[in-house]
Amino acid sequence: MADPIVLTVETAFADLLKPAGDTRDPGVTVREVTASQIATILARGAIAGLADGPKRMSRDGADYLGIGPGKWLAFGPVAPAIAASASVVDQSGGYGVLEISGRDAVATLQKGIGIDLHPREFAPDAVAVTTVAHMGVIVWRGEGDAWRLAVFRSNAASFWHWLEASAAAFGMRVAKD
């Protein structure tokens, strides 16, 4: 009997992450968030504890991003109570997730994101489904000055080209997950 096969995981940005520009005093730090579980939650009726709207909510160890009416993107294990009144569709491999931080993070992002990221307009728990350089992207805020962006896996290379071109002027370093 042959050894049981093991399929290795390859994250969306695995072979793309590299520093850009002058990194002696980088204005931007990028890290690939290798979230193991991502799922679309589609309500089959009201879901206790999840409200409609472009907001991030944390429930029992998972983050839920409101991405449409009755629709969330869940990061982490979906609570059984939520799964009971929703269709839960695995998307773990469908997205690449980057965390972008540093003093020039916003200046970098505003080279592609057409919505206002000023703290007056983009609250700490806000979520936006928008585009970067003609690619769909989901944007929300992480800890401190960090921003998180989820892009479709297939767009990772094009997205990286945009990010690299946009962050190089500030210098961008890669942090390990």
Binding site: M1, A2, P4, I5, V6, L7, T8, V9, E10, T11, D15, A20, G21, D22, T40, L42, A43, R44, A86, S87, V89, D90, Q91, S92, G93, G94, Y95, A107, Q110, K111, G112, I113, G114, D116, H118, R120, E121, A133, H134, M135, F152, R153, S154, N155, A156, A157, S158, F159, H161, W162, A165, S166, A168, A169
Partner: protein
């Protein structure tokens, strides 16, 4: 002699900047423009005019410059039509004049001036009408060569560009006194402010005119204002940034010249940045552009706008002349004359007005300036510039020696941007200027842009507009103290031109004269728009910023309108030329648009795949092996491998939609023409979707993984559209159905494993955990199981007509699964072989599902259920959609097997002439079939299946194809379908 003054000006004499113009070396200073540095070096002649190649000099000190256009830089960075008046001088700058040959001083095409009777208004339309054939071959190349606006480098741009977006409550356009006052007031009140200045120095006209604000030097006030603005976190101050357009929704386009003032941008710095400013309120503080007065030979080098002369004297510390004549019909020209006199020029003021304020004449007298109530009617001079002004007054005609004639006919408020959304401008006789009409939707004009030319009014208006904008948006903090200054005297009598000489130029850039405008008027082109087209007045890079209004005033006078111009064409964006590179940003070459990679992309590239674009996707087209010299060789090998052994094709790009819920089956019954609710779990079915209009929309399989769980697959091309369609059907048409939809195209990698040895390959990979035998997993079965650590889904479906499976896994395992499959010895095949296999099997694809075909046309009429309702059902029954003579799907085989069939060829009955009336359909798909041993195809033929066995002509006039084909069944291989079930 023109030279640099010993003191004064906003230049740094210690910071010298070396540069060359037409190969000659010069020195300037930091703070110079190319124009000011040339003038400081005594260079008067900088260009040749567009049509007559007349010698021209610097005419303005800003972006309105019509004459001093140069080619900046050399090699791949050469940039034509750059305005010397806006180029910030840098060390090593290299510029050349344009539109001259062999040199600027000796320009052979200056002979064009003797052709001027032929080149008058409308010559373009009159001269080259006949013979028509000469246009492309002779006239156009001739004109293009002669009428030059510089040459592009023709090489790829070595620099980078980028785009960015900024948001604010208030945008202030222009950082002169009004703009700075507005920005301060709005920002102090708490608004987020963007203030944007085209120039590299802030202060606007305060840089060029000596003034006091709040009782101290105005430039000190500017410094403090800038310091205060820069200290506020929610203020962004842009220099070297021009707002070029206003768009709907409070959006403005701006171009920031990030590195244009450097020889080469430093690493990672873009040359230019295209900004989109999205703001709630805008304030237009763009100032005003002086307009000249037209007189004979008014275009010689050494004749310039009076305000420009003042800029060169005060801001750039250039002594422009020994003897200056200022021809002005307003008080501002006098102010320029005073500054010229102070710079050491023996100055004469010529003013046609009889009511000049005594204070002005008294001051002129004190400065030793001669004043003449009269007009300049002409100039004398040579190639190197003006030598004298010819003046007429009540005392008669006299010739005044002059190496500078400064002209001032009033000011045009720079309101171009305010008309970008279609709002009107109105002529104000009081200001002798076009002003933005009340309640302009784009911006609130302030200062000179609003026709208030006094400095005190500019500060008052700017402060009030800034405070009002902030208050209007709910910012409650105090806007701070209003800066104050006196209003200078600014009386003006509008005065447009002297006489109607054919050498009295109105539009310098396009060589349009007073006589041209009169000619246009005589020939019926009387509205400003018509006259613009006919004479080219106001066209090209300066867009008539100095000339337009004069031309329109002349038209008005000719039409008997005494009050000034009837109207002026609305300005359109861009206000100033914008390089396409800046709009493209980093999206150049293969990054022109985003592309999509499958998880197995790297494997494909590593295995020598030739990639093909399928929408945004890059898919392997074929995999050439060493020694294969022709794509067909590789494709044939790949197709044969599938027919005889086993091949693997990446089909991850096909759309995948997860459909769940108690009514999932009912929903699919509604969107597919055939029935899915009866499909047992663990089974897959081929389905057809129609559009509302009854034509076929898309096809694919749907697999029922569980009682309430289906996976719908769509074609690659229609993946997004199908998802939208299903969302629409659910949300709008059948919200009653309890079903959820999610696209999972990105989440799963999927591979077709096809060929007689596919089962063996997969079984080996799966081991004992899953039984792939025909009994356990028959044709059209589906299942979800595990492969090692990963979830997989198996579908026994076949596009090739062979025993085949599709295996899917979450995309994070996609690369690893592909690797495992390929290590098992399969042949990779690409989209070409996929096409060969499906044509041999008679399966339709995008070529046949063209949006113009019905299910019946494609031989799929049996898939239209009669037992249920579905999208497109009623419309599919329209008479024309079920007409008997519709072209239907057939197979095609050349009668001469050596001949090549091509898709796109049309069918004609044998012997019928090749006319549209005889057209019987066309070849939709053509491939070389290794199975048949010749080219074969699919096509849509009138009468279709009833004509099997007949011969028709396949006629391809575009590529010279003309052959006889036999009509056969579209299924070339295994018509009984034994292989797929084997």
């Amino acid at each position: 002699m023109m030279r640099r003054l010993d003191h004064g000006g906003a230049i740094d004499r210690a910071d010298t900047r070396r540069f060359t113009f037409d190969g000659r070396a010069y020195e300037g200073a930091a703070g110079d423009t190319l124009a000011s540095a040339l003038l400081a070096n005594g260079v008067k002649l900088v260009g040749r005019s567009f049509k007559y190649h007349r010698p021209r000099g610097v005419f303005t000190a800003g972006p309105e410059e019509p004459n001093a256009l140069v080619e900046l830089r050399s090699g791949a960075r050469r940039e034509p039509n750059t305005k010397a008046t806006t180029i910030e001088l840098y060390d090593g700058l290299d510029a050349a004049s344009q539109n001259r040959w062999p040199s600027l001083e000796w320009d052979i095409r200056a002979a064009h001036r003797y052709l001027s009777p032929l080149l008058s208004a409308g010559f373009y339309y009159k001269t080259f009408m006949w013979p028509a054939a000469f246009w492309e071959k002779l006239y156009e190349p001739l004109i293009r060569r002669a009428a030059g606006l510089g040459r592009a480098s023709g090489e790829p741009d070595p620099d980078t560009y980028e785009t960015a977006i900024a948001f604010a409550d208030v945008l202030v356009i222009g950082a002169g006194p009004a703009g700075l006052a507005a920005a301060l007031a709005a920002a102090r009140a708490g608004a987020r402010v963007i203030i944007c200045e085209d120039d590299f120095h802030l202060g606007g006209r305060l840089l060029s005119e000596p003034h006091s604000i709040d009782g101290r030097d105005a430039l000190d006030w500017v410094k403090d204002a800038v310091r205060e603005l820069q200290a506020m976190p929610d203020v962004r101050l842009f220099r070297r940034t021009q707002i070029f357009g206003a768009y709907d929704g409070g959006e403005f386009g701006a171009l920031e010249r990030v590195a244009d003032h450097m020889p080469v941008p430093p690493a990672h710095m873009p040359r230019q940045r295209y900004w989109r400013f999205v703001v709630k309120r805008a304030i237009l503080a763009t100032g005003a552009v002086e307009r000249p007065i037209a007189f004979a030979d008014n275009d010689r080098p050494g004749i310039m706008l009076a305000s420009a002369a003042r800029s060169y004297v005060n801001r750039f510390a250039v002594r422009l002349a020994d003897k200056a004549v200022v021809f002005a019909s307003g008080d501002d020209g006098w102010a320029s004359a005073f500054d010229l006199a102070a710079s050491g020029a023996a100055t004469t003021i010529v003013d046609p007005r009889d009511d000049v304020a005594p204070e002005l004449t008294a001051k002129a007298g004190k400065l030793g300036i001669r004043t003449i109530e009269g007009r300049v009617v002409g100039s004398e001079g040579g190639r190197h510039g003006v030598r004298a002004a010819i003046v007429e007054s009540t005392q008669g005609r006299e010739t005044l020696a002059a190496d500078l004639i400064a002209v001032s006919g009033g000011f045009n408020p720079a309101i171009g941007i305010a008309t970008h959304l279609g709002d009107k401008s109105v002529w104000s006789p009081a200001q002798a200027a076009f002003l933005a009409a009340e309640n302009n939707r784009v911006a609130t004009p302030v200062g000179a842009a609003s026709g208030k030319f006094g400095l005190g009014d500019a500060l008052r208006g700017g402060h009030a507009a800034g405070a009002a904008a902030a208050a209007d948006l709910g910012f409650a903090k105090a806007p701070g103290e209003r800066p104050t200054a006196d209003n200078e005297t600014a009386k003006l009598t509008a005065f447009w031109h002297v006489g109607a000489s054919a050498k009295a130029f109105v539009d310098f850039q396009h060589d349009v004269t007073v006589a041209d405008i009169e000619l246009a008027h005589r020939e019926g082109y009387r509205s400003p728009e018509h006259a613009k087209r006919y004479t080219t007045l106001g066209m090209a890079t300066d867009q008539g910023k100095t000339s337009g209004v004069i031309g329109h005033a002349i038209l008005a006078r000719l039409s008997g309108q005494a009050d000034g111009p009837m109207g002026t064409p609305a300005a359109r964006s861009p206000n100033s030329p914008v390089a396409l590179g800046a709009l493209a940003g980093p999206h150049r070459g293969k990054h022109f648009r985003p592309y999509r990679h499958v998880a197995g992309h790297r494997w494909a590239v590593a295995n020598n795949a030739v990639m093909v674009e399928a929408g945004q996707w890059l898919r392997p087209q074929y995999f050439p092996l060493p020694g294969e010299t022709d794509w067909l060789q590789s494709v044939t090998r790949e197709a044969l491998a599938v027919r005889t052994s086993v091949g693997v094709c990446d089909v991850s790009t096909l759309g995948k939609i997860d459909v769940q819920g108690p009514d999932a089956g009912a929903f699919l019954d509604f969107v597919y023409s055939n029935t899915f609710s009866t499909l047992p779990a663990g089974r897959t079915r081929y389905g057809l979707m129609l559009r509302e209009d009854g034509f076929v929309f898309d096809d694919g399989t749907a697999a029922r993984l569980g009682p309430e769980h289906f996976i719908v697959s769509t074609t690659t091309a229609n993946a997004a559209r199908a998802m939208q369609h299903l969302e629409f059907c659910h949300q709008v048409l059948r919200p009653d159905l309890r079903v959820t939809l999610a696209s999972v195209t990105e989440a799963w990698s999927q591979y077709a494993v096809a060929g007689p040895k596919s089962r063996a390959l997969l079984q080996k990979l799966l081991g004992d955990a899953f039984d792939l035998s025909n009994a356990a997993f028959p044709y059209l079965a589906c299942a979800e199981t595990k492969l090692g650590n990963a979830t997989i889904r198996l579908f026994r479906v076949s596009f090739s007509g062979e025993l085949a499976y599709e295996i899917a896994t979450p995309a994070q395992y996609g690369a690893a699964l592909l690797d495992a499959l390929m290590k098992s010895g399969a042949t990779p095949y690409g989209t070409e072989a996929l096409g060969v296999l499906r044509v041999e099997k008679g399966h339709v694809a995008g070529n046949e599902i063209s949006g113009q075909t019905t299910a019946g046309d494609l031989g799929l009429g049996k898939m239209l259920s009669a037992k249920k309702d579905y999208i497109g059902r009623t419309m599919a029954k329209r008479p024309a959609l079920i007409a008997a003579d519709r072209p239907t799907l057939v197979g095609l085989k050349p009668v001469d097997a050596t001949q090549r069939l091509r898709a796109g060829a049309h069918f004609l009955a044998l012997g019928a002439p090749a006319t549209t009336a005889n057209d019987e359909g066309y070849v939709t798909s053509a491939i070389y079939s290794p199975h048949v041993g010749s080219w074969i195809g699919l096509g849509l033929l009138k009468g279709g299946t009833s004509r099997i066995g007949q011969h028709v002509r396949s006629y391809d006039p575009v590529r010279g194809g003309d052959l006889v084909v036999e009509i056969v069944s579209p299924v070339f291989i295994d018509p009984a379908g034994e292989r797929v079930r084997g």
